[in-house]
């Protein structure tokens, strides 16, 4: 029942939207009922598009997470790695993502889903790298002293202290990354590729004047991103039940 107020607000917004668009502006801002109807009429096409986009987003999430973790582990372990990798990694986050989309399409093949995955991965990489690095480095100094008093080596400290300490940070990054991955995939799709993806679905609907259908595509994209976010949250609850952010209130 914690989410009841949020649901009420959501319902009120939908009703107001429906009422205010009943008259004019029907074409550009269609009422929710029209969007739902359009979506139901094209359900099969929407489902295939959403599935393809989700595949790209999840692939990007995996690639970006692995890349971010790799850099984080290296830079938390070796000072030279940190000095070399960190500036480069930070520079990648400053790249205007929309500008590189056509380039990535060109590099990895505009019809290859990998080009969209790389877009998603680029967005996921940075939060994962920053958070995982913090999780590996920001360990209680007393924990390290304790391990040293047992004559534990670097590997034992990594396995028994740094990695468990890092997990909550990783999940925070994954929750952000799950929604970012969908944005990355959609942006990539806008710059061309196979037709049965959400980005192209929205574009073609709009160019043929079907704003209701375009909105249905956007809506499905949002729902897919929320599902991804919630999935990560559920995995988090199972994986780190001990952490303060997850404990039952």
């Amino acid at each position: 029942m914690r989410y009841l107020p949020a649901l009420i607000v959501f319902a009120v917004v939908i009703v107001l939207w429906e009422m205010s668009t009943a008259g004019i502006g029907r074409r550009v801002i269609p009422p929710p009922s029209a969007i739902v109807n359009a979506g139901l009429d094209n359900l099969e096409s929407l489902r295939r598009s959403a599935q393809a986009t989700a595949f790209e987003a999840l692939g990007g999430l995996v690639i970006g997470t692995l890349g971010g973790m790799l850099v984080a582990f290296a830079s938390s372990r070796w000072v030279t790695a940190r000095d070399v990798l960190l500036p480069v990694a930070i520079a990648t986050s400053a790249i205007p993502i929309i500008a590189v989309a056509p380039i990535l399409n060109n590099w990895f093949g505009v019809l290859n889903p990998l080009s969209k995955m790389m877009m998603a991965a680029l967005l996921v990489f940075f939060p994962v790298m920053i958070n995982v690095t913090r999780g590996l480095v920001e360990v209680q100094p007393a924990s390290i002293e304790l391990m040293r008093s047992y004559a534990a080596g670097e590997m034992a400290v990594l396995r028994k202290v740094r990695i468990p300490n890092m997990l909550p940070f990783l999940f925070t990054a994954l929750k952000v990354g799950a929604t970012l991955a969908f944005i990355g995939a959609l942006v990539g799709e806008y710059f061309g590729g196979t037709s049965e993806v959400l980005g192209q679905f929205v574009l073609t609907s709009m160019s043929s004047g079907r704003f209701d259908l375009a909105w249905a595509g956007i809506l499905i994209g949002a729902v897919a991103a929320i599902v991804a976010y919630l999935s990560v949250s559920i995995i988090e609850r199972i994986a780190i039940p001990w952490h303060a952010s997850v404990r039952a209130e």
Binding site: Q140, E145, S149, Y150, A151
Partner: protein, 287 residues
């Protein structure tokens, strides 16, 4: 020096032997002398407290004995070996002011940590963890996570973990400093019982005079700037000690003796002529 109720295995060899230990820290603001000319020999089975105000270097000295920091000069021997050899040989158990339990491990897994590190096989490990938790009377809390325990219970888990490897030397750095007085007194009694049962040597850092006197066979009094041991007071209260000990005449005398020693270097064995000191002397041999 060894309590009368316990046999000493190696009477000739001290558990801890410190000769002319000095510690200087180099900082940007300049050099600070943390410890000067520390000389102390501790027999196996002794319970020695280091007491003194903040900044007297008592925690630093404990860390030097535990080979967590290297002294600038001087000899540090533990059971006849260098402190480093002793640490690599896992002869230490350490308890810090904070319990330093791992949030992701339940009580059982926290106590198991040192046993995992030394590669003890599973069945022996489980038996040992159970034994340790019964020793600190937390046998029914094996599956609890640290956040579900009170501060005192967390510190008992830390003690169980420190004892799991059967250390010959237990180093405790203000372990009860963050606890309320009632809990502290209860845990003091518990530490004494564990010490009696295990026969381990203990070095205990504290700034509580009653705690030091109640627990120790000897109390090393330290003063700051530069950190040094100005007096070592033998607290020859009868063993085993209990709540009655805290109310005995001799206990109050010892508390007074430590307090006066802390107050000024005058309270040193030879230098003092104070009236309370005279009263003490009249009642029996001191120090």
């Amino acid at each position: 020096m060894t309590p009368p109720n316990r046999p000493t295995t190696r009477p000739a060899q001290p558990a801890v032997h410190l000769v002319d230990v000095n510690m200087r820290f180099h900082t940007r603001a300049g050099d600070t002398t943390a410890l000067t000319d520390i000389n102390l020999s501790i027999a196996p089975g002794e319970f020695v407290s280091l007491i003194g105000p903040s900044g007297c270097g008592k925690s630093t000295l404990l860390r030097i004995v535990g080979d967590l920091i290297k002294p600038t000069s001087g000899l540090v021997e533990v059971n006849g070996k260098s402190a480093h050899q002793a640490r690599v040989g896992r002869e230490y158990g350490m308890v810090f002011q904070a319990p330093v339990l791992f949030d992701w491990r339940n009580v059982e897994a926290n106590v198991r940590l040192p046993l995992e590190l030394m590669g003890m096989e599973r069945r022996r490990r489980e038996a040992r963890v159970k034994e340790m938790l019964e020793l600190v009377e937390l046998g029914s809390f094996m599956r609890h996570y640290p956040h579900q325990l009170s501060g005192g219970m967390q510190q008992r888990v830390a003690i169980a973990r420190a004892l799991a490897l059967e250390p010959t030397l237990l180093l405790m750095d203000e372990p009860f400093g963050a606890l309320d007085e009632m809990t502290r007194e209860r845990l003091n009694a518990e530490v004494l019982r564990i010490w009696q049962q295990t026969g381990t040597t203990v070095i205990f850092v504290t700034h509580s005079i009653p705690e030091a006197v109640f627990l120790s066979t000897r109390v090393a009094v330290m003063t700051p700037r530069p950190g040094r041991i100005i007096n070592v007071i033998e607290t020859d209260l009868p063993q085993p000690r209990n709540e009655a000990t805290r109310e005995s005449e001799r206990y109050f005398e010892k508390v007074t003796e430590v307090r006066e020693s802390l107050r000024g270097r005058r309270a040193d064995k030879t230098a003092t002529k104070g009236s309370s000191e005279d009263r003490l002397r009249a009642e029996g041999p001191v120090g």
